[in-house]
Amino acid sequence: MEIIHKKKTLTITIKDIVILTITGIVMIFMLYPAYWVFYGSFKKSGSLFSSERFGFTFDNYIKLFEAGFGNYILNSLFICLLAVLISTFIAVMTAYIFSRKKFRGKKWIMGTVLAGQMFPWIILITPLFIVFASLGLMNSYTGMIFIYTAISMPFSIYLLLGYLHSIPTELDEAATLDGCSPFQVLWKIIYPLMRPGIVATATYSFILCWSDYLFALAFLTKTSVKTLPLGLSLQFGEYGADWGAVMAASTVTTLPVLLLFLPIQSKMASGLTAGSVKG
């Protein structure tokens, strides 16, 4: 009884104070920049940098959406959702074959796909620019969906391979003996077990596409098709930019990612280095 009681009382040691102080500093470093953007987005224009009293307002957001910022959001949503759907679909099929089947040249194909992660994306710009220009895919949703499918695919396959590894192959074998076709094994046995991994992978791809600036910058020049990061950089790039609007635009760009991240955060971290963390 006494021992249990003792454990419950909090004793604060010097070590605790040091650790709490360092943690506090780290948390300020991590949170303050984001807090400042969020706070600034609700502040009255002109008072952002001054020491005037904080005046709460939605003006920045209203101005932003009146200027057509909603259009960037819709573009981003449409392009990213479709790209993620396609790339996750392809990644599930590929990862399943890679993890379960043996075939000639597998090592080479797998090596090439996984090496796609090491690829300097910037060298895709010129060749794709020329191809897109001749196919009329510049400033098109289709072109961007293709590109985002392509850039998120290798990492999705890598992540899914990690998840598939934790599903025992005995399940496939038993299902095959029971007369399931290969498609049925994947769809009825493996897919339901993979679903948490698929959700995490799709979320990751979505965030990757949502945040992309490079490809959007190169292939989207018409305002009507531009995505969020480009819309944001337009606000930011202008000389004498309206800081309040920039902060509001930044908040709008970040919030969806943050909300998506919440449910999958722990899975993401362990999935990234799946091969190396042996539980």
Binding site: M27, F98, A115, G116, P120, I122, M153, G275
Partner: protein, 305 residues
């Protein structure tokens, strides 16, 4: 017999891999070879229709003899990649230990601290750059206001215009944005270390420091190997941080390979020359990946390969 049994299986594999192969060929292999071809021409953005003329290795020779080439390589390897990756690895281990410490568990702070890490992690790179650029603004930024008010400086510092502060700023932005990922990965690894290892060490009379160097650090090694590879590749190839923070400036002081590819191609319109720089990047990464995999990471990737 054997043939008959295998045929439907082969059909299944082909069907399942076909979409991936289409993407791989049209968006990775074909553009790479096209880029290689362009790098031997004098293709210009203004003369796309006529195409470029074959000029042999001229673009590569020009690149290697360019007087800014050494500076470019130094910036990319040392500042952008080496400094930022090693800082993230060291800070990642230390902060994971901090967030995993008994103290935070005692005060029930583990949940909230881990949740806080999500904020910078979920922030898109462009927003991270905007937030920091505003905070470091010479006239109105909070950092200068603090430095002025505690008397550390007499007049505001233009962090992005000064040569000795511009790289540290870029690196701080990269660290802020991607350190949480490193910490979370190390936290996952820390939690998978068996308690019995520490108990055995305690019986042998090991102190905290010995336990760290003889148990924790070696047990974190596989995670470190995979993370370092990913961070090096992501950072080396990264374009947005430098471009959005400094636009390779002041002058071209913070220019790196990725921004040089973009500037040469889409500002100077010299697509052929830009392609040659891109090929150099791809070759460097391929060599790095090959050696890293062969000598360091073979075991770590054995499970999925």
């Amino acid at each position: 017999m054997l043939f008959k049994r295998k045929k439907p299986e082969h059909f299944f594999i082909t069907i399942m891999l076909a979409p991936m192969m289409v993407v791989l060929i049209s968006f990775y292999l074909y553009p790479t070879f096209y880029n290689l071809y362009n790098s031997f021409t004098d293709l210009s953005l203004l003369g796309l229709k006529q195409g470029g003329e074959y000029i042999g290795f001229d673009n590569y020779l020009r690149l290697f003899h360019d007087e800014g080439f050494g500076h470019l390589i130094w910036n990319t390897f040392f500042w952008l990649t080496f400094v930022s990756v090693s800082l993230r690895i060291v800070l990642g281990v230390l902060l994971a230990l901090l967030l995993n410490s008994e103290t935070l568990k005692k005060f029930k702070l583990t949940g909230i601290t881990r949740l806080s890490l999500l904020v910078p992690w979920a922030t898109p790179a462009i927003v991270a750059v905007i937030a920091w650029r505003f905070m470091l603004d010479p006239r109105e930024g909070i950092v200068n206001q603090i430095l002025l008010s505690i008397g550390m400086v007499d007049k505001p510092i233009a962090f992005l215009a000064k040569l000795h502060t511009v790289w540290p700023v870029v690196i701080i932005i990269i660290i802020w944005n991607s350190l949480p990922l490193v910490i979370m990965s190390y936290l996952a690894a820390l939690q998978s270390i068996s308690k019995t290892l520490y108990e055995a060490a305690e019986i042998d009379g090991a102190n905290e420091i010995q336990k760290f160097f003889h148990i924790t650090l070696p047990q974190l090694m596989p995670t470190t190997i995979v993370l370092s590879l990913m961070l090096v590749v992501w950072t080396f190839n990264n374009f947005v941080y430098v471009w959005l923070t400094t636009a390779a400036g002041p002058g071209n002081y913070t220019n790196v390979l990725a921004t040089e590819v973009f500037i040469r191609g889409f500002v100077d319109f010299e697509l052929g020359y830009s392609s040659a720089i891109g090929m150099l990047m791809a070759v460097l990464m391929a060599l790095f990946g090959m050696f890293y995999y062969r000598y360091l990471a073979k075991k770590e990737f054995s499970e999925i390969m």
